[in-house]
């Protein structure tokens, strides 16, 4: 369509035009203080602050001062500094969100003002608290393998593909040491998880591992209560729905990770003192 082409051409011309005119209309210049530590910071700050046709900013590493030139008809220093803070850099008007600071590169972790530290501390505390949960001492027999399985499951909940092969291999070794007839099959299922290169592949293999482990746990009831849980939404190829074992009744879905953390329901309770099976929805 000719008309559409003309519009694209016109838009392209407009953009080229704005790039050529280094001078901004209604230009105003201000000097602003922005925290930062290295040349990486400089790049990130300037990228976050500058907007074509609106604002240009140059930050100096030694003085931590920035020169901002902006079109005073369309924007102001406040808007620019807000963008800089969202990118992780404290400045004279805004403190960066704790999460944005935490996401900065190691070399960019400048020293924050005391007021900002409290907020960061609370975020960090929550993060480490989460990581510690689910790691307990070693227990023999199926319980030991279960512990390793839960650690693998937790890694899948967190969605970190890198840590998974080593955990799966560790689990396979523990399973191979067991004498139960179902253990061998379960061990090879764990090896399949270790072979998975993507998180999707690992999750698909984990679904099979979980079914096999469920049979193993049914034949050899574990000491503590274990919940067999079901996610109806999981899809992989022709497979619809998937199960997993969990030490907690609360749902923490390993197939979707963060995205559908609480999706699922308990379909069976194994081990502990709980012999009777029941359906229970969380």
């Amino acid at each position: 369509m000719g008309a559409m082409k003309a519009i694209f051409l016109f838009a392209a011309l407009l953009q080229a035009g704005s790039a050529l005119s280094a001078q901004l209309p209604n230009a105003k210049t201000e000097t602003l203080r922005i925290a930062g530590k290295c040349s990486l910071c400089k790049q990130a700050i300037e990228t976050a602050a500058s907007k074509k046709g609106e604002a240009m900013l140059a930050w100096d590493l030694d003085s931590h001062l920035a020169e901002l030139t902006y079109d005073s008809a369309t924007t102001n220093a406040d808007e620019v500094l807000k963008r800089v803070a969202y990118a992780g850099y404290d400045n004279e008007r805004y403190l960066a969100p704790a999460e944005a600071y935490a996401a900065l590169d190691e070399c960019c972790r400048y020293e924050r003002v005391p007021q900002a530290i409290a907020a960061v501390a609370s975020v960090e505390a929550r993060r480490t608290g989460k990581a510690e949960a689910g790691h307990k001492g070693h227990v023999p027999s199926i319980d030991g393998a279960l512990e390793a399985y839960f650690a693998l499951k937790d890694a899948l909940v967190e969605g970190k593909a890198e840590g998974i092969p080593s955990r799966a291999t560790g689990l396979a070794k523990l399973l191979e040491a067991l004498s139960a007839p179902e253990a061998k099959k379960t061990a090879s299922a764990a090896r399949e998880v270790a072979k998975g290169k993507t998180i999707e592949g690992q999750r698909a293999a984990f679904a099979k591992l979980s079914e096999s482990f469920h049979a193993l746990a049914k034949a050899n009831p574990p000491a503590a209560t274990v919940y067999y849980q079901h996610c109806p939404m999981y899809t992989h190829g022709k497979v619809k729905g998937a199960n997993w074992l969990s030490a907690e009744k609360a749902i923490r879905n390993p197939y979707y990770g963060d995205r559908m953390l609480t999706c699922g329901s308990v379909v069976e309770t194994l081990g502990g003192k709980s012999a009777p099976q029941h359906r229970d929805h969380e």
Binding site: A116, A118, R259, M260
Partner: protein, 710 residues
Amino acid sequence: MVGYGIRIPLLGLWVAGALAVSAQQTVRYDLAIADTVVNYTGKPRKAIAINGQLPAPTLHFTEGDTAEIHVHNHMHHETSIHWHGLLLPNEQDGVPHLTTAPIKGMGTHVYRFPIRQSGTYWYHSHTMLQEQLGMYGAFVIHKKDERPAAEEVMLLSDWSDENPHQIERSLHRATDWYGIRKGAAQSYGEGLLSGHFGTKLANEWKRMHAMDVSDVYYDRFLVNGQAEQQRARYRKGDTVRVRVINGSSSTYFWLTYAGGPLTVVASDGADVEPVTVDRLIVGVSETYDVEVTIPADGVAYELVATSEDRLGQASLWLGDGIRQLKQPLGGLDYFAGMAMMNDMMTVGGNMKDMGMDMSLQQMDMNAVMYPEGNGPKTLDYAMLRSPQPTVLPDKPFRTLHFELTGNMNRYVWTVNNRTVSESDKIAIEKGENIRIILTNNSMMRHPMHLHGHFFRVVNGQGDHAPLKNALDIMPMETDTIEFNASEGYGDWFFHCHILYHMMSGMGRIFAYEGSPPNPQLPEPKKALRKVYADDRRFYLGAEIGIESNASDGEVVLENTRWAWQTDWHLGPNSRKGFEVDSRLGRYLDKNQFLLAFVGWEWRHREGGHAPRNWFGQANTKDDRSAAHLGIQYTLPWFIVADLRMNSRGYVRLQVARDDIPLTARLRLRGAYNSDREYTLGAKYILTKYVSLSSHYDSDMGWGGGLTFTY
């Protein structure tokens, strides 16, 4: 009564600086309602102000007071004020024509009622779409002998520069303009690039348009009428009670705080045992009291309300100094949501929950679209617990089942597939207990609000079930609420509080048996017709192409069940031809896929054509003037099949698909019929009303021009 208002005549209006010193117990306010002009975006727009301000002033009372509120309507059209969440005599409830006389243009109305409760409530117009124009304010009732120093009102709302009646009409026309503005068009092209082409195909196969968590594009979100506000008086260690009120017309808000977690202490005015969370969603019309603390001096901490579609936010800064930002909530992954909806929707148009027994906001299916996932601790209704037992009187229960139903494509929203005007009032007996089991079988969440009563939300807290007056229910959820018919008399509205859903008829009226006549409504039958008229209205729409080969156009006038459609294909001369077709039809089935119609058709052309149609009849496509009977059925993938027979026994079948979203703004269409006519067209959407377009027609050939959409 001792109490006085100060009135200052200004610009010929009574702008009342309200209020009230009250030695005794009557507290009087004067509210002056007037048309006004606001400017939120650089463009002046009409709005409605109360006492010269938007939002309306916060009204303060103490439990035990008597409220006396004089409302002066300085507008030329009628209005009303509803006291949201208050327990009061029925004729004071403020639903025009249902409980209370409407306040006529230039008229005055006095509300008078005892204050029997405490907590955070609000008030708003219950007339047409006035709420969207700014007619809302906070209504705060303090407990006796208690007036905490550190408390703030955070009244949230949504603002659009577009006239609300245009918004409403556009929603009924299934406009995709709001999706384009939001970057949520979810076209095939975007699907292809993100690996979701199949997802989009499956979605349209199941007759679903682009999915979203909200329907309207808003220009601004407001806290107390502004994009942001600051309360600088707070210092380190202060705990601030924030009375959060969602006074928006159709926006849910996420609430997060830069200075730490939020402690929820009340919902919809009723206290709950404190529960601490990272975030909560505030449904339309809900109120929550939250407590936050100020961690340090020299900093203002951001309390942020983010629209559920995450396209905007409004902030309240607490404290003084450098501003500590809260990490914004990242944008929604619409295609992930679409894939989830595909799993949940049957081809027949029903929602299935896959046996997950969802309820009480505990499983937020929208989380598939959140980049931050389900990590932050989020409030749900199961966490709310009343400090006192809320057991209902030992009376028999009557159970009602309400299925929330709707049709996104035609913007028809119903309960048990019936609008307010299509259903009888529900008679209730004074003193009996009513249990309502609500199931949401629609694709949107609905904040269901009951007038004049608290209900208990049955949420696993036993005798301590929390009291609320508005309940958010997500798609596929089932929730149970219970209340005692304790108010004595009158008609009480129960409805979805999304303004455009309510106006399309999503609600029911509870009527106490044996109620005395309402002195404010001397002609009850006529008044009820006025109430019912809201959801019987017709909406006009049109798509008119002016192109070099011909004008193709369609004008439709539709309401909940009826549709009058007229279309034409007019060439420049009789060689290209002239066709006009007009029909009146009624949607017959629950999903409104099936329309039966009668109509009339005229066409004339001197161009030659295929001698016979598909059915072996002599082809009359170039010379016809006949009445016809027929049906239209929307097939999967939105293919509309139109089968008709005319008064001469001639049969025609046509299949057509409009508005295939190729890219965010590019649409394709095509049609083929048994007269062996066909057409193919494309349009590129420039603005809400104008597109560049081109089409080829078997009769008229190629052409290009503009298409106007209304």
